[in-house]
């Protein structure tokens, strides 16, 4: 790929529009792909509005997800204490019990990954279509692919809460119930996934200089 030195002709520059779902190429102005019936959109910065909207929605729901409890635990009918733990609280609790591995997984999945995703999508949307070198473009595509791949894995914390709440129902001995943060966390993850899906990776390549290109 990098040995290829001739300038690349893109569908957009040729006055055509490519279908992002099946690859077929149509004249500009065509609204739907006649093969797979999906909507055709030229790579346009206007499509970034949807990215920003979903991203902000995801950010908003991430705040209550961290402030409210994720899990409510009661042991021995509340005699040994009722505890409510937030995402961060749960991680600290796991470290207390020496479960470093699980603490690290939960910390990465529910704190590092979501925040990294917000920053990456925001940055990608900010620099999309701005001047870039070929090397920059390749790096941005890698970031986009990582965000796209990893996004759904944040849902793991919601599943853990669901499994614990269904399983740990031992009456007097111990019981676990889900807290309101579970819903806002799930929504936050879903909105960020939608944000990443609305990002058009073709915009990454729009900012490349037309002359003296070596891609």
């Amino acid at each position: 790929m990098s040995e290829h030195h001739a300038p690349i002709m893109t569908a957009h520059r040729a006055g055509l529009v490519g279908c992002r779902s099946c690859g077929r190429v149509w004249p500009e102005g065509q609204q739907t792909c006649l093969r797979c019936r999906s909507d055709l959109n030229p790579p346009d910065r206007r499509s970034l509005n949807a990215v920003w909207a979903w991203l902000i929605a995801g950010l908003i729901f991430y705040i209550p997800a961290n402030l409210f409890p994720m899990l409510k635990t009661s042991t021995f009918g509340g005699l040994a204490g009722n505890s409510e733990s937030t995402i961060l609280g749960g991680v600290i609790e796991l470290i207390h019990y020496g479960n470093w591995g699980v603490a690290a997984i939960v910390f990465v999945a529910s704190i590092v990954v979501p925040i990294g995703k917000f920053l990456s999508i925001g940055w990608l949307a900010y620099v999309a279509g701005r001047p870039a070198s070929v090397k920059d473009a390749h790096r941005r595509l890698v970031i986009y692919e990582v965000v796209e791949f990893i996004g759904r894995w944040s849902m793991i914390d919601v599943f853990i809460v669901a499994i614990l709440s269904a399983l740990v129902q031992l009456g007097f001995v111990a019981s676990i119930h889900p807290g309101p943060a579970a819903v806002s966390f799930a929504l936050s993850v879903a909105f960020t996934m939608l944000s990443a899906q609305s990002f058009d990776p073709r915009l990454i390549w729009r900012g490349l200089p037309l002359r003296s290109r070596k891609d």
């Binding site: 790929m1 002709m9 490519g18 853990i160 499994i163 007097f172």
Partner: protein
């Protein structure tokens, strides 16, 4: 109909655009086992495999059978001091069935059971006639498009990893044993992964088109008679 290798830069016929970087490529029929990648960003464009359709259909049926087991058999059992509890996959999703958490129940059931089942059915619907060399069913185009849209939302494998972590979390609190549904679910993950490895969207779109549906007069024929 077009002959292989000919293209038209004004209508885009005979060309393929990379979905990631918009680079244009000349469309070519690939032999099974060949792989087409974008010259600029190395994105996988197509990778037809021998007998892929038959295998995807078989794997889809396998995943449906496993899902029935996963839903109805006990998933996990827990016990401590004579108190015990057993939960099925259904029980896990219904864990959120109180008040404001209710919608999450629906969403969870959809991502771990509903969507994997729906995708398996859609793939069988799309590929069954194609694998026998017959014309595709009438709604094959929207069916396959829906299946591709739903792909990221089908989260069965994330759920299984979540189970493993949840078990470590309660490990100190009580004794836990796996039910048959847990193993069915693990099998399901393997089957889905194999099915995804065989699915090349472009190849399936080509097959739907060659099978006689959604014909726009632009499908490539190997004969020069076009």
């Amino acid at each position: 109909m077009l002959t292989e290798g000919s293209y038209d830069l004004t209508t885009g016929a005979g060309l393929v655009a990379c979905p990631r970087c918009d680079a244009l490529h000349i469309e070519r029929e690939l032999a099974p086992g060949e792989t087409a990648r974008c010259v600029r960003c190395n994105t996988l464009l197509a990778s037809p495999r021998v007998g892929a359709f038959t295998r995807i259909i078989a794997l889809s049926f396998a995943s449906l059978v496993l899902m029935v087991g996963a839903v109805f058999f006990p998933f996990l059992e827990i016990s401590r001091m004579g108190f015990g509890n057993e939960t099925s996959l259904f029980g896990v999703a219904v864990a959120f069935s109180h008040g404001v958490l209710m919608p999450l129940t629906v969403a969870l059931l959809a991502t771990i059971v509903g969507l994997p089942v729906l995708r398996a059915i859609l793939l069988v619907y799309t590929l069954l006639p194609l694998s026998r060399g017959q014309a595709p069913f009438r709604h094959a185009v929207p069916a396959f498009r829906l299946s591709e849209t739903l792909r990221p939302w089908s989260m069965a494998e994330i759920f299984v990893i979540g189970t493993a972590i949840a078990l470590v979390k309660v490990g100190g609190l009580a004794t836990i044993s796996f039910g048959p549904a847990f193993w069915a679910f693990c099998g399901l993950i393997m089957v889905n992964a194999a099915s995804n490895a065989f699915t090349s969207a472009t190849t399936i779109w080509d097959a739907i088109e060659d099978g006689g549906l959604a014909t726009d007069g632009r499908e490539i024929t190997s004969e020069t008679a076009g």
